[in-house]
Symmetry: C2
Subunit: 561 residues, 2 copies
C-alpha cells in the first residue's frame, strides 16, 4: 500500500486556500498511484481555530470543504482532519475528527479522545471526547486512526484516565495512523520521535505520523512528520519548517519497504528526555528556523509585506533586524535609529554598521528635541521633581510613538525586540520598547539571544562583534547598565527557567543552589509584572512554556509577590 503524508501549512479559517492545497496534494498523490493520503489534524479549517468554532457558519464552511474533498477522493483514500457535529444532545456540540474518504463517500469517522487543555491548548473548550473506538477498514486492512494527543498518554503519570490505543488494539489493527497539529518547541521534535517509538513498541505496530507545518500567530508547527516500523526503526522523517508531500510503501504484512534512516537504537524514548537544566545553546539552529517561519507566516497570513525595527545598537534589536531581513528580504525591512542624549556614540555607529552588513534601509531621528518639548510641557506639573523613571520611560515612549508614526505612514509592521529575561522581570516600558505587532525574541532568555547572535554569525560577521561584546544597557540615563537593576544574566536566566519552564517553586529552586533572597526577589519581579506582559504582543513560541496564551496567571494574585 502506497501511503502519502501531506505536511502542509494551513491558514486558519481560510477555507478556500486550505481546500485548494488539500485538493492539489490529492491530485499529486493520485498521479503517483497513491492508495491513501494522510493530512494533519483539523487541516480543513486550520489549527487552532479557537473561538471561531463557536460559530455555526464556521462549522458549515468546514463541512462544505469536506464535501469537496470527498468528491476528489475517488480512487484514493483520504484521511483528513475536520470538526464534526456531535449528533447527541448530551455533551459538547463538536468533535475534533478525522474522516476517511474513499470512492467519493465518507467511509469512516474517528473522534479525538484526549483533548489537550494545558499550555497553549484549549480543546476541551470546544470538543467532546470520543467514548467509542473503532478501527477503520480500508482495502482489507484495519487502520487504528488517532489524533495528536491520543498517542501521548503513556508513562507513569498519565494525564488522562483512558488510552484510546488500548481500546483500538483489541480490534487487531494492522497499522497506526496519527493526524497531528503538534507545535514546535526546542525539545519537542525529540519528544515526538520518542512517543512514536513508545507507541510502536507497546502495540507492536508500525506508525504513520502526519504533522502540520506553519506558524499561526504565536504557535509554530514544525512538521517533521514520521514513519516508523514496529521495532522503532525510523523509516522517514519529513523536513522541518517546510511543506512536503512524501510517500512510503507499506508491506502490509509488516514493515515499510523503505530503508531505515535511523535504527531503533538511535531513537531515545520520550521518558528518557527530561530537560532539567537551562542550556542557552540548545537546538539554536532549530530556534532560528522557527523564528524565521514565525515572522514569515505572520506577515503572509496577515497580508503584510514590510517590517520596521527600532535599531538601538544593542544585541536584541540587532538579532531581530537580522531575522527580519532573513525572513522577509532586506528590501522589505526598515531600521529606525532613535538616539537620545544618553546614547553612546557606538550605539549609532554599531546600528549603522549592522544595516550596512544586512543591506537594509535605515533612518536616524534624534529624539532629544522632542524629549525637551515634553519636559517643557510637563514642567508646570512636574515642577522641580528630580529626573527619575518617569523621564526614563518617557524616552522609551517617544521612541515607541516615533516608530509607530513611520509604521502608520508607510505601512510597516513594528517587530518587537523584548527578550524573555526582560519580560519576565518587567524590565521594559509599556508603550515604549514593549510596543510592536509581533514579539520575535519574547521566548528567548538573554543568554539564548547571545547564542542566536553567534549562530547568525557562524560563517561571517553579520552582527558586528562590538554589539555582541558590549555590556547590555537600555541607555535611558547616563552610564546605565542592565546589571544596575538585574542580576547578571547567567545567574538570572537559569532561575527564571526553573520557575517558568519547569514550574519549580522557591523551595526547589533554592535547593538547586540559588541564593534564597535572590530567588524571592526574582520570583516577586516575575509575579508583580504580570500586568505588563498582559498587554504585550504575541510572542513566537520556541520553548515549552512561553509568555502569552500558554501561561495564564492572575494579575491581581498575591502569590510570591
Amino acid at each position: 500500500m502506497k501511503i502519502f503524508l501531506a505536511q502542509q501549512n494551513y491558514h486558519i479559517g481560510n477555507f478556500e486556500a486550505n481546500t485548494a492545497k488539500i485538493l492539489a496534494a490529492i491530485e499529486n498523490a493520485k498521479k503517483q498511484d497513491g492508495d491513501l493520503i494522510v493530512f494533519s489534524e483539523l487541516a480543513i479549517c486550520g489549527y487552532p481555530p479557537r473561538d471561531f468554532l463557536e460559530f455555526n457558519d464556521f462549522i458549515e464552511q468546514s463541512l462544505v470543504s469536506l464535501n469537496k474533498i470527498r468528491d476528489a477522493a475517488d480512487t484514493i483514500g483520504v484521511l483528513v482532519g475536520c470538526p464534526s457535529r456531535n449528533p447527541k444532545a448530551e455533551g459538547k456540540n463538536l468533535f475534533n475528527s478525522a474522516f476517511l474518504l474513499y470512492e467519493q463517500h465518507i467511509k469512516g469517522i474517528v473522534h479525538k479522545s484526549l483533548l489537550p487543555n494545558y499550555d497553549i491548548f484549549d480543546e476541551y473548550r470546544y470538543f467532546e471526547s470520543a467514548y467509542e473506538w473503532n478501527v477503520l477498514e480500508f482495502k482489507g486492512k484495519k487502520l487504528a486512526v488517532t489524533i495528536c494527543e491520543d498517542i501521548w498518554n503513556l508513562g507513569n503519570d498519565p494525564l488522562y484516565r483512558i488510552c484510546p490505543m488500548d481500546e483500538l488494539i483489541k480490534q487487531q489493527p494492522d497499522i497506526m495512523i496519527n493526524l497531528s497539529a503538534s507545535p514546535f518547541d526546542y525539545v519537542h521534535a525529540d519528544g515526538r520521535k520518542g512517543i512514536v517509538k513508545q507507541n510502536v513498541l507497546k502495540y507492536q505496530l508500525p506508525m504513520v505520523y502526519c504533522n502540520a507545518v506553519g506558524s499561526q500567530t504565536e504557535i509554530v508547527f514544525d512538521g517533521g512528520s514520521l514513519v516508523m516500523n514496529a521495532n522503532g526503526g525510523l523509516v522517514d522523517e519529513m523536513p522541518y519548517f517546510k511543506e512536503s508531500l512524501t510517500s512510503v510503501n507499506w508491506n502490509e504484512d509488516g514493515a515499510f519497504l523503505e530503508k531505515v534512516v535511523r535504527p531503533a537504537d538511535n531513537v531515545p524514548l520520550l521518558d528518557d528526555l527530561v530537560p532539567e537544566q537551562f542550556e542557552a545553546g540548545r537546538n539554536i539552529e532549530m530556534i532560528y528556523e522557527a523564528l524565521l517561519l514565525g515572522i514569515k507566516d505572520y506577515f503572509s497570513k496577515m497580508g503584510f509585506k514590510k517590517a520596521i525595527v527600532a535599531s538601538s545598537g544593542g544585541i536584541d534589536s540587532a538579532v531581530v533586524l537580522t531575522l527580519a531581513c532573513h525572513a522577509l528580504g532586506a528590501e522589505n525591512v526598515s531600521a529606525l535609529l532613535l538616539p537620545s542624549q544618553f546614547s553612546t556614540g557606538h550605539s549609532v555607529s554599531d546600528a549603522e554598521q549592522l544595516s550596512k552588513n544586512l543591506n537594509n534601509h535605515y533612518d536616524i531621528i534624534p529624539i532629544k528635541d522632542v524629549f525637551g518639548s515634553f519636559e517643557t510641557a510637563l514642567k508646570p506639573v512636574f515642577k522641580d521633581l528630580p529626573f527619575n523613571i518617569a523621564e526614563e520611560n518617557l524616552q522609551s515612549r517617544i521612541r515607541g510613538a516615533m516608530v509607530m508614526a513611520l509604521s502608520n505612514k508607510f505601512g510597516y509592521i513594528l517587530l518587537n525586540t523584548s527578550n524573555k529575561s526582560e519580560l519576565a522581570t518587567g524590565y521594559g516600558t509599556l508603550y515604549g520598547d514593549m510596543a510592536g505587532g509581533l514579539g520575535v525574541l519574547g521566548d528567548l532568555y538573554k543568554q539564548q539571544v547571545y547564542a542566536l547572535a553567534r549562530y547568525i554569525n557562524r560563517d561571517r560577521e553579520i552582527i558586528p562583534d562590538s554589539i555582541i561584546n558590549k555590556a547590555p544597557s537600555a541607555e535611558l540615563r547616563h552610564d546605565q547598565k542592565d546589571s544596575d537593576s538585574l542580576p547578571e544574566y547567567d545567574i538570572l536566566d537559569p532561575i527564571l527557567y526553573q520557575y517558568i519552564e519547569r514550574r519549580q517553586g522557591p523551595k526547589e529552586i533554592i535547593a538547586m543552589g540559588s541564593n534564597a533572597a535572590l530567588v524571592a526577589r526574582i520570583l516577586k519581579l516575575v509575579n508583580t509584572n504580570e500586568y505588563k506582559r498582559n498587554q504585550f504582543c504575541p510572542i513566537i513560541r520556541v520553548s515549552p512554556k512561553a509568555f502569552g496564551i500558554g501561561r495564564r496567571v492572575p494579575i491581581v494574585g498575591k502569590y510570591l509577590s
Copy 2:
C-alpha cells in the same frame, strides 16, 4: 439546624488574608450557635487561581491553610472549597474540592464533576472530574454537596454527559448545598435563581447556594447567595457586591423556618430567560455597582491608591472619571486634560466642569508644541506627505505618553476609557487612548455608556449635559466625528451584540433585518482588529461575553475578514 453562609471576598494566593477571613467567620458563627457554615468554591486559595495551581508550593500552602481551618472546626461543621491532590496516577493531579470539617477532622470530601471550560473558565486545564459520588453525613443528615457548575447541566442541550445530582439523589439526601464562584454579568443573577429553582423542583430538595463576592482583575463575583425551599420559594437572597454572613434555620423535615421573601411563582426558570436582543439600559444599576467593585478591588488587591484619567470632555472619559471618584474617592483621582489644536473649546470647559462637579484634582497640558516637535523631527523622513492617520495616531500617543509620565512620576494608575464599540471595530490608537492598567468601559457598548451616564445623573447633574448631548468625536483632525468612520451607534451596537455576545454569523444577523454589506463590513472590522485587542489591558467584565480572556480568537485567522 442553623446554617451560615459566608459570602466573602478573597484575594487569589493570599493565604494569610483568606484564612484569617474564613476563621473570623467561623468564630462569628460559633458565637451564634451555628451548626454548619458554608464557604464558596476554592475559598482558601481564591478563585480563579489559574496557573498558580501548577506550583506544588501553591497546593501545599492551600492544604496548610485547610489544616488551620480544620482545627477551628470543632463544635461547628465547616464546608469550604480548596484544591486537593488526586491520589491516583491516572488523570490530572488535582481536584477542585469541597471539604467537610468537623470535630477537628476532615469528615468528607467532594470533588467537582463538571469543569467549566468556556468563556473565562479554564478548569479542565487543572482539574480531574469526579467520577464517584457520595452524600456527606452530618449530624444524622445527608448533605448532597456540589460545586458551582455541577448544578447547571439541566435543560435540553446539556453541555456534559453526566449530572452529579442524578447520582447523589439515589442516596436520598436531605438537602442540597452548592459552593460557587459564579461571576457577574448583567443577566446572570436571574440565571442563578432560575437554575437553583430548576434543581429544587427536579430533585424536590431545598438548596443552600453560597457564592463568592469580589473582583479578580477582570472577573467580578457578585455574591447574591441564595437559600431556596424545595418548592422554589426564595427564603434568602444575600446582598450583591458585598460581603455578608447570614444564617438560616433549616427544619430538617422540610422547609426553612424563615419567611419566604419571594414566592416560587415569582422566580422564573433559567430556561425562560433567553436574552436575544440588545438593550442598552438592561440592569444598568447592577453594571454600575459591578464597575465600582471592579475598580475598587483592582486597586486594593494590587496595592494601588491613586488613579488618573485622561479627561477629554467626551462621554467615555466623563463616565470613567465619575466611576473612579465614586469607587476610590475624588481625593484619590486626578484628571489630565490634553487639548490639541483640534480640540474644540467646549472640550476643555466641559472636562473642567466635570471635575468641578466631582471635586477631583485636574491638570491641563496642551500637546500642540510637543506635536510640533514630532513633526519637525519626522520631517526629513515624512517629507511632504499629507497629514493622515499617522499624525492622528501620533496625537493620541503623545497623550498616552503624557498621562503615563504623570502615572510614573506620581504613582497614579491610568484607567482606560475605551468602550466595547470602539474596541470591537478597532476605533482606537494602540499606545494612545488604548493605554491604561484597567479597562473600565471595555465591556460596554457606546449606547450602554450613555445609559450609564444617565444613571449616574439620575438625581443631579454630575456629568454635564453638554457632554452627554454632543456628537461623539475623537478630535484628531478638524471637525472629525465618529460617524465619519463608523455607522451610528444605534445601528452598530445591536449588530456587534449579535456577533459577539450571541455568536451569530452573517447569515443569521442579516436574517434579523440588517443590511448585508454593512454586516460584512462590521464583522470584518471586528475580526481584523483582533491584534489590537490582544494588547489591551484587562476589561471589567459585565456582559456574558467580554473581550479578553473569555474570548479567544486567532489573530492571523482569515475568517469573515
